[in-house]
Symmetry: C2
Subunit: 299 residues, 2 copies
């Protein structure tokens, strides 16, 4: 089955202590869509400006990503620039130029409205609502978010949560949203806000799933070297949703392995700037790391 992915499609200029990379392909939907493309057909929904490089359209297409829902508008593409500190954990935003993203809202081509799996990747909750309003009874909807929306669009986000099956956020966002620093107590409160499945991302420590079959501690694939963590969270949730859409059998039975596959794609993402490394991987490389994770965690 296919997965519809809506989020930002952007250009990222990323600085680390070792290198500087201007105008890479970025944005939550770009990372998530490429990650998902290894497992299932992807319908991308987003907006870019006329300055959007042709080679990035070609990149999407090379991954079999359907671009019927990608609007190209007069104006500039959303451009983010940021800088990482030496430890690769702390980053600060240098500049955010919204461009055509500022005045657009995601419009779904009619042929996309019945896509069974829907990933509302990180964008404003109001836009996530707008996408759901256009969908016809999707089978499984997951929303990602970020601290920004907790700060400036909390009401919209709280209205969204009862409308989704799964909600993904990181540990500090979970703490901010629930006021609880214990992850179990936070999970309980998050379920009460609506979603049946909650996934808390723990960065390089993996993630935790809470759902009807209890909890799952999903490991992160341990990396020898992190080049650029931008988009790792988006790759995680993209890989997860792609795996679910592509897998046979009941969703509940595939969920844990979906997280592990998301985790593995996210590990590749961190090994290169932007999408440089993710775009080079194959299904067999992913399978190898999944196997390695099995070995690393078995006791």
């Amino acid at each position: 089955m296919s997965v519809l992915i809506v989020g930002s499609t952007a250009l990222d200029s990323i600085k680390t202590p070792k290198a500087e990379n201007p105008r890479l392909l970025g944005g939550s939907a770009s990372h998530a869509a490429v990650a998902a493309s290894f497992f299932a057909p992807v319908n991308l929904v987003g907006v870019v400006g006329e300055d959007f490089p042709k080679r990035y359209l070609a990149l999407y297409r090379r991954h079999g990503i359907n671009l019927d829902g990608l609007q190209i508008k007069p104006g500039k593409t959303f451009h983010w620039s940021g800088e990482y500190e030496a430890n690769m954990n702390n980053r600060r935003t240098l500049k955010t130029e919204l461009g055509v993203f500022e005045t657009s809202s995601p419009e779904l081509p009619p042929q996309h409205r019945a896509t069974p799996f829907v990933l509302l990747a990180n964008i404003a909750p109001a836009l996530q609502h707008h996408v759901l309003d256009q969908m016809r009874r999707p089978r499984f909807v997951v929303a990602d978010t970020m601290d920004l929306w907790l700060n400036i669009a909390l009401k919209d986000l709280l209205r969204l949560l009862p409308r989704v099956d799964g909600f993904v956020l990181n540990d500090s966002e979970a703490q901010q949203l629930t006021g609880e620093d214990n992850v179990f107590v936070a999970l309980r409160k998050l379920h009460r806000l609506g979603p049946h499945y909650v996934i808390i991302k723990l960065g390089s420590h993996g993630s935790m799933l809470s759902g009807s079959r209890g909890h799952f501690l999903c490991p992160a694939y341990p990396l020898r070297k992190v080049v650029d963590p931008t988009g790792a969270g988006d790759s995680f949730v993209g890989g997860l949703m792609g795996y679910l859409a592509g897998a046979r059998g009941p969703l509940e039975a595939n969920l844990r392995r979906a997280l592990v596959h998301g985790s593995v794609v996210a590990s590749f993402c961190c090994e290169g700037f932007g999408l440089n490394r993710t775009t080079t991987i194959s299904r067999s490389e992913i399978a190898r790391r999944v196997k390695e994770l099995e070995k690393l965690t078995k006791f």
Copy 2:
């Protein structure tokens, strides 16, 4: 087989935002010995003053811990007092009174010198050396440490490492000792210092083992509530060594499950002040949490 455990035997006065508990039984050897006692016979080596409460001697004995190597000397027992912040991660030392610990060194009764498993729990590396000097060809020796010794006794510690089979330290100590913040690179450098097995503790994120069968990511048992983390690291390594000493078959095959059992005993330790919770647990409670960890991590 039995395990010899040497380290500090102390009184801990522990303050958290919610409670204050004076003169609890503490010290690295106390936590490690009680943790190990669930799996194997333990020979404790340490020193206390005449003020050491009789009820704590009774507590050791209740756990079948052999006290032939516990010296009781004129003077006061080592007394540590510390305070935790609300998040239970940061703690500061309020007072350290060394008492009889200052002028003593661990002397092994002759009947202990052939104990096959040896845990050099956290004390000064010079004292860890002194214990090894008295042992007769032990089968498996593991040393724990802390940042203090990296700062004030680094030379002694570096001389110790080629003499032990396993070395346990936490992630920030590994970074301090190797100058590497990537755990894999740090592990490689730590092996070069001598030990065949290296275990890096990651606090509430578990631990990582590196040895001849590659790496193992050991999960932490996720807790609903942390009351007092004092002694968790000592309980981890104590449970680990106790499990190894008590298990049949080749050591290499038991190592992963030994870490998991240590991890589980450490989780109990965090649920009460000092040894209050650890001393109440049973083998079947430990087995239950090990099973739960299996379920939590399986995919």
